[in-house]
Point group: C2
Chain length 632, copies 2
């Protein structure tokens, strides 16, 4: 830990504990006009006035405030892992230094497509004491009140919270300035307020199928392979299911179903990818020292908190959950609770609750871009691989870039330093390097920015009841997961590496997972490839160990299913002093799988773990395979 790092921590701590600094307060009550329905212009004016002050503190008094996009500050925003668009921003905290937004249990209610907070090119920012919710959520939920497996139909009871219409035999949910269809559906169990056990048996509903167009040979798309998602041109989707309105608020769904879903479950949906991540709650970008404390995020049409190209972000007592005033609501955010891409310094998550999201609890990673073509001796064109990373800041002058040969290993083959980045468009950048490009670079190479990975601490927090994973760990720097509770539809903790679909870079090198409690995990359905509560996985471990030192100790696993740990390609793996229990919550989905399944590990220590309540043959407790092609 160097001096610079200590200094950074001090600044964050100072903000955190509110050490006396000369602050200049502003009060929202002084900006609000009587009987004004929309707080947006008042907040905007307060923020504009704050630009003239030193260390401004923006007080949001106790109360409920509504925000509408119509008069909101707007700009075209690149938000990583979201759909770029013109965002209507309620709190544009852009280019500020030393600013605090201090809510006194202030309830902020948003309408339609808005991004509540944008913290951009700012330093030393604290936001606290607010809750974020939407008047009408940007996803939809409907209770299954009847089903007829013989006829292949089921009936949805749609409450008035979800205005809808059947349009050309498609069920469309209407929001305030937004709409979506039944795509990306999943079942929630209202008794558990969690993703339903074995939902994969029923969902996603295959409600549309592909249909080819006429005269496709006339479409001239030379880059369709490179920029795959730009082009869905050769086919369209047509209705597979049929929707019939039996009466107002009651819609019968019929057609080819995997299985007719059970009565009593809640069908949740958010519409088609590329159109369903437009309204994340917090965006933190190109900023330093940001603290979010005592905040409730009850909903977002996208992620709760997105951090990118930022240094030192702390979340202290941030609760991402459904609004207690809306007890029937199943879903909080429609994508990850939190997500950090290309950050550095320290990401700290303490005493937080992330539950009922439609995607991961957190995901901390870098980003790969694809080598496209050499334009000069030191000039390389690259393509942003993931369509939802368009426009993100892959690198800036001075950054150290690792060149990864995706055929060989996820470990960089060589490095170079960035001189200049020219973002020609959102997906195509031209990078000039300090040194001549290595001759080995081919189209199989991806590039990784090794200067922008953070340390990560997740402590005293709860990750549960959501679709997908608890935490994805993809930073090579010190990572501590301590004293948390996890229970998730898929793995509680996943350490992945892949170079060709998500383009999320960074493989764990230094991870300590201790004193956590893991409840039921991977209950969403059968998965022949993976089912570990903790999964450390790559398909790139043939010539190399991809992951570094990973220690898992003193944890409690109370799971309904067998598999606790799966790992491959790890240099140093310790799993000891853990207690494993059978929760008996559900019928096991993978009774045949071993408790621990490890493969291609350089140093392995499995010691002093207790298995109780299970009666397993020895070879199903630990299965250690050595890949035939493993290099010594």
């Amino acid at each position: 830990m160097n001096l610079l790092y200590l200094k950074t921590i001090q600044v964050v701590t100072m903000l955190l504990i509110g050490l006396p600094v000369l602050c200049q307060p502003l009060y929202l009550k002084n900006y609000l006009k009587n009987n004004e329905k929309d707080a947006t212009p008042a907040v905007y004016q307060m923020i504009q006035d704050a630009r003239k002050l030193k260390n401004p503190v923006l007080h949001i008094e106790e109360g409920t405030y509504h925000f509408y996009p119509d008069k909101a500050f707007s700009k075209y925003c690149y938000v990583t892992n979201h759909d770029n668009s013109v965002k209507a921003i309620a709190f544009p905290l852009i280019a500020f230094k030393n600013l605090e937004v201090r809510g006194d249990h202030a309830s902020l209610i948003f309408h339609g497509l808005m991004m509540p907070f944008d913290i951009e090119r700012s330093e030393n920012i604290k936001v606290s004491g607010v809750s974020v919710d939407w008047e009408l959520p940007l996803h939809s939920e409907a209770l299954i009140v009847a089903s007829n497996p013989k006829a292949g139909t089921f009936d949805l009871e749609i409450s008035e919270d979800f205005p809808y219409v059947i349009q050309n035999n498609n069920l469309i949910f209407i929001k305030e300035g937004y709409r979506h269809d039944l795509d990306r559906s999943i079942l929630f169990d209202p008794k558990r307020k969690a993703v339903a056990y074995n939902t994969n048996l029923y969902t996603p509903l295959e409600y549309q199928k592909e249909k080819k167009i006429q005269f496709p040979e006339k479409l001239n798309l030379p880059y369709a392979d490179d920029f795959y998602s730009l082009y869905d041109n050769f086919s369209v989707k047509v209705q597979n299911l049929k929707f019939t309105e039996l009466k107002k608020g009651l819609v019968r769904v019929s057609g080819p179903l995997k299985h007719v879903p059970p009565v009593g479950m809640v069908l949740v949906c958010k519409g088609q990818n590329s159109f369903n991540r437009l309204a994340n709650a917090f965006h933190i970008t190109h900023s330093k020292n940001v603290l979010l404390a005592h905040i409730n995020i009850y909903h977002a049409g996208g992620m709760g908190i997105v951090g990118e190209r930022s240094e030192n972000i702390s979340l202290e007592t941030v609760n991402i959950t459904t609004n207690p005033d809306r007890p029937s609501r199943m879903v909080s955010t429609t994508a990850d609770a939190t997500h950090f891409a290309n950050c550095r310094g320290l990401i700290k998550i303490n005493n937080c609750t992330f539950e009922q999201m439609l995607d991961d609890g957190t995901n901390v990673h870098g980003s790969y871009v694809k080598a496209a073509e050499k334009l000069a001796a030191n000039k390389l064109a690259v393509i942003v691989g993931h369509y939802q990373q368009g426009g993100f800041t892959f690198a800036e002058k001075g950054d150290r870039i690792g060149f990864v040969d995706s055929r060989a290993s996820a470990n960089p083959a060589f490095f170079n330093i960035v001189k200049q980045v020219e973002a020609v468009n959102q997906r195509y950048y031209i990078i000039t390097f300090e040194d001549k490009l290595d001759d080995r670079i081919t189209k199989d190479f991806v590039l990784e920015n090794t200067d922008w990975y953070p340390e990560l601490e997740i402590t005293n927090s709860r990750f549960r009841n959501n679709r997908a994973r608890g935490a994805l760990l993809s930073t090579p720097l010190r990572t501590i997961i301590r004293n948390n509770y996890f229970s998730n539809m898929m793995s509680a903790i996943l350490m992945p590496v892949e170079l060709s679909y998500w383009y999320e870079a960074g493989h764990a090198q230094n991870v300590l997972i201790e004193n956590n409690s893991f409840g039921d995990s991977f209950y969403g359905g059968k998965n022949n490839k993976h089912s570990g509560v903790i999964a450390i996985h790559t398909s790139l471990d043939k010539n190399d160990y991809i992951f570094g030192k990973i220690i898992i100790r003193n944890n409690l696993f109370n799971n309904f299913d067998n598999q606790i740990l799966e790992a491959n390609g790890v240099n140093h793996l310790e799993f000891y002093n853990n207690t494993i229990k059978d929760s008996k919550s559900f019928a096991p989905l993978h009774p045949e799988k071993p408790v621990i399944d490890v493969n291609h590990i350089n140093f392995l220590k499995i010691q002093n773990n207790t298995w109780r309540g299970k009666n397993l043959p020895a070879d199903q407790i630990v299965k250690e395979r050595i890949a035939a092609d493993q290099a010594p």
Copy 2:
């Protein structure tokens, strides 16, 4: 004409006649790689290199060049009277001084959603010698090969130039990275290569109808009246027509039709408003002294040439028409050939042909914004009224603004000077004025920027065979229309004023229309309100004369229908030495209407016009009404 104006003209002329200046040439051939399908990166690099030169001339050698959006320079663009979006720009001529693009009969072929030329914040720019076309047009055309009036069906023959699919009973035309439906349809007559006579009898096809949503009361849209187009929330459109594929390339349309359209006509469509103006050919904004010469624009998904907030734009021998190599094609640009909003200096159109567009030949106007609320003594919030003017530069510091009481007159009641404009978002601006706001301002006021109107000269040009009008004239400065040919589906020349739908400001004050030839006009269908070949119209003339001095002389009108001139609210109107003939091309649509219908004119001279080939009762030649409420 002041000195500054003369100087400006000189600069334009210098560029025009290519006086010897020290130019630095660049050649596209030096940038193109062998066998590269896509010229976009080569052109981009040439333009980047041009930034380092003085007076660069970019040579595009004779040949055909293809452009794709994938590697194109892109940015979010506000293009007035279009749909704002991230535009992929082939020629980003941004922040240049003294630059020429000199094509040698270069054929530029675009793919998908692209904006070929963006001339932005630039001065002394000339583009010449290029043609612009699209590989697959962004609108669609299909020949009507059979019809069955009894059954209410007709059959469309769709050629391989128009890939399509029937998706959920909607006919969808597929382009390269774009698609549209059958909305905004119209008939073209392939014999005349023009909008079909009386197309309004058949089109637009009413192929969708409104359907109300359930639980609309839950939608909380406080500004729905102000920002009307943001919200289409309370209803959706559902199919009215049915589409059946009889065989590949043959689709039967059935359902409720106004009238079954006749066999032999071509049905043309471009899809829904708000999604069909994404790819104009030329955008000129915040620039000065721009000359486009010897250019062919064969297509654009939007307008051919859009000029906004620019000074001195000259079009010399610009042909907007269909590509002679594609003889069956009906439509050139899918919106106006040219359009100039908030320009000043001189707009000059000479020796141009604008034909077969799906909207007006030209439209020269300012823009109104709506007064929304007083925020301080000299601070007014305004709303951009027209949804396709979002983000446009209404005014900048120093501009003189007229305040128009829309209940009383289109003439400003008082003025104020702009100190600062804050574009909070695309539709909501906060303007600070030099002086205190006048107490009379209410929500009924609109604001007009009186500093940004151009002089206009249209000479030796052809406006014909398009949907809508020939030329819309809405500038108070000197306007000359001389030696042109017009023949259009609606009025050849329209001088409008209205303050509440299009928000296009500026009423003609000084117009000379002479030595033009007008062919058949207003042949698209019956229109009870208007049908003048030349129409000067406002509904705001109750207390005031809105238009100034308008002289129409020495023109030939060879029209199939009666009405030649309609005018009201004009201070000084002369119509003399004109020859009016009966073309006998079609059956008259409005035989009952007078040849000249004038109303509320202060000074009127109608003299020495000849009517030939018509046999009309006297009261049908000139009908002059004095409005009962006309002020003296």
